[in-house]
Amino acid sequence: MWRRSASFVLDKRQLAQASPPHQQILLSSDDMEPNNLPNPNPSTDHGISAYYQTRAEHHAVVTSDWLAQAQAAVTRNAAVPEVLPKIAATGGSRAAGSGKAFSVIDEFNYWRKKPDLAEAVAAIMALAAFIRSSEATTMMELEIELKKASDTLKSWDTTSISLSAGCDLFMRYVTRTSALEYEDFNAAKLRLIERGEKFGEISLKARRTIAMLGQDFVFDGSTILVHGYSRVVLEVLKLAASNRKMFRVLCTEGRPDRTGLRFSNELAQVGVPVKLLIDSAVAYTMDEVDMVFVGADGVVESGGIINMMGTYQIALVAHCMNKPVYVAAESYKFARLYPLDQKDLAPAIRPIEFGVPIPSGVEVERNARDYTPPQYLTLLFTDLGVLTPSVVSDELIQLYL
């Protein structure tokens, strides 16, 4: 669990001298995790992790022929949104007594629906909104409330990394701002708000930056293996294509949500020659691959990444065939986690359609993502520049030290 990590200790110390109440909130948010992980009612639609919903939502946009699948996804999750607030409410109320928690969650969900808005951004938007609505009168007070809110938000969906990353990032920023003393509180408050709202723009710009960085690595005649549907990776490849780079792409199918189909479709539209593989054909085709591109749900302190299920094994195959593995991820996905093994993370549960009814008593691994250790990654393209995994951990330590 992430609280094992060094940074957690740091965090704790720092919070301690920040303000006592956090402790208890933090703990509460901790001990509520267990009863959040095994989801209350094990029916598929409720079992779906919020993280997975977001993914589904974001995929539910664009291209006609994808719509069919999108529809499927949406209908599957149709039930979810209205149950969410309930969970949220319970979670929220349990976390922090203040009624504002509701607004945070709703705010968050509101932003979350926006197609090309990353979760982290949504979170920060939500927090910004929270600040606006809060009637704290001192910086300290504001911070405390904000902390509560963010914890609520985090605890609401423990599975989403970029969510917590976003919250942490913003909180960190708030504390740092408050550190520089402002003569009047409102100026500070305004500044915070206006920062938060700007954040969406940042995230967009970040994507563009990464595309720019990444496309340099695509050379003529190269073959690129892509796994999962990452908007950043897509942007990179699109840009490379528009710069008349000649390359071809191999897409993994990405069972069960068929991310590959959609991805290949997008690429085909910009005229990039693309080929679909079933997930198990990766090792088979790896010899003709020049580089592997993946996105990331979160980049952890070790420099490793957490990404859609299957990334790990692809990275392993690539590594033993000496193919570079490039990760494209915005810097707000850097999370203060230090997973030591796969099971270290709260699993993001998702439905898996096998087409045939699964015999009773057979268990199904329904986790949506895995953890890829840093030694299997070559480089990360982030809006902070092209980084080696070791640099990432540096950055995080710098930030939270």
Binding site: Y173, L190, R195, M212, D216, F219
Partner: protein
């Protein structure tokens, strides 16, 4: 004092025609040229930093284009750009604060938007948050142009221009240029003395009765070994001759003249010998941002052999060879293909290349690449004039030496 432009053209021609031998020479000359550029640049009342930056960029762009193979040139240009920013920053910091950031960082931003296509990666990355240090999470939120009034520790040349409207700018107008030139002089000093700096560390690495293996001839390596020798270390040197140019023979001569115990072997004998070797020391053409090394051809093989027998593989190079770029596509982009005549005698093989009788297509191809690329995982240690570093630490050095928005040197039209 001749006109700068002619100096520049002259130097560009030299570079184009590969008339400058070796990284150090080109680095030094580049620095000197840019120094004269800076000193001759007449500065306006305001925005000195930008003016300087643009002037240097304009020249640097030409220089880099002139000989893309010689990375040292680009490195120096970027170093100097960095210097200017730093100097400007310090002087700004000393200057008064609290002025609202001006429009020009703004239009910087619009500028990015309108033609970010043209501008390549790093430039955008930089402008996305114009900070002096490499962008970091810390500044993720702060770097926004419309940011409010608080002065940030990490505000850049770009930002400082805003403050430049302040009154007592004039007092500093001389100072900035002066400081920059001072700094450049230091840089040149460093380049000149880098060999000594590196050699000083020799004794620490080379121990009594060790066997050192090197390939080809690198001046840095030579100095390094000689330095150890002067310190009364007795050790033996294996020299792989370094086909096709056989500079190893030259090195052997020099070392023997200095009284070192020297053995010359063929390149192909490296693996046979490596088991008896205690350490491999080679020079480099350039050190890339990911710790990979571009070095004379054949060294990759040595590195592999060394890894196989767990022999430490040490790369010695002056810090002017430290390149902030990544080897996107090493074998092509950063390689230089020399004339085949190093390998074959044209006369002997001329009949193999008689296209009239061989159906018009050359049947005999001779490829003579100048460089190898050695991935960082094969390198055990870098020794630069700033000390020894592990490959994973290189990015730090780069962060110190270069500022992110100089990775791509492009003339920024300030209009």
């Amino acid at each position: 004092m001749p006109d700068v432009q002619t100096l520049v053209n002259d130097f560009v021609l030299k570079l184009k025609r590969r008339k400058i031998e070796g990284s150090q020479a080109s680095a030094k000359q580049t620095a000197e040229l840019l120094r004269s550029v800076v000193s001759q640049q007449r500065l306006p009342y305001i925005n000195q930093a930008t003016v300087l930056l643009d002037a240097v960029r304009a020249v640097g762009e030409q220089l880099i284009a002139a000989n893309p193979v010689e990375l040292a040139v680009g490195n120096i240009v970027r170093r100097i750009l960095h210097i200017i920013r730093e100097e400007d920053l310090t002087s700004t910091a000393s200057a008064m604060e609290g002025l609202s950031l001006s429009a020009n960082s703004d239009d910087d931003d619009n500028y990015e938007r309108e033609d970010h296509q043209a501008l390549s990666a790093a430039a955008v990355a930089a402008a996305a948050r114009s900070t002096l240090r490499a962008p970091s999470l810390q500044t993720l939120l702060e770097g926004i142009p419309e940011s409010a009034s608080a002065p940030h520790p990490s505000s850049s040349g770009g930002d400082s221009e805003g403050k430049s409207k302040s009154a007592e700018r004039s007092s500093r107008s001389k100072k900035l240029k002066h400081d920059v030139i001072e700094a450049i002089n230091e840089l040149i000093q460093d380049i000149e003395t880098c060999h000594e700096q590196i050699s000083e560390q020799a004794v620490g690495l080379i121990h009594q009765n060790e066997v050192i293996l090197t390939l080809g001839r690198s001046r840095t390596v030579k100095e390094f070994l000689c330095a150890a020798n002067e310190k009364k270390r007795s050790f033996r040197v294996f020299i792989a001759e370094g086909a096709p140019r056989y500079l190893g023979h030259v090195l052997a001569k020099e070392l023997v003249a200095k009284g070192l115990q020297t053995t010359v072997i063929t390149d192909s004998a490296v693996f046979a010998m490596i088991s008896r070797v205690n350490m491999v020391i080679v020079g480099a053409h350039a050190i890339m941002a990911n710790g990979g090394v571009i070095a004379p051809v054949g060294i990759n093989m040595v590195a592999l052999a060394a890894q196989r027998h767990a022999v430490p593989f040490v790369v010695v190079a002056g810090s002017h060879k430290l390149c902030p770029l990544y080897p996107h596509n090493p074998e092509v982009l950063l390689n230089d293909f020399k004339s085949p005549s190093d390998l074959l005698d044209f006369g002997e093989f001329s009949d193999c290349m008689d296209f009239s009788t061989s159906g018009g297509s050359p049947r005999l191809h001779v490829v003579n690449p100048a460089f190898d690329f050695i991935p960082s995982k094969l390198v055990s240690l870098f020794i630069t004039d700033t000390g020894g570093h592990s490959p994973s630490y290189i990015y730090r050095l780069i962060a110190d030496y270069y500022s992110a928005d100089d990775f791509v040197v492009r003339r920024r039209s300030t209009s």
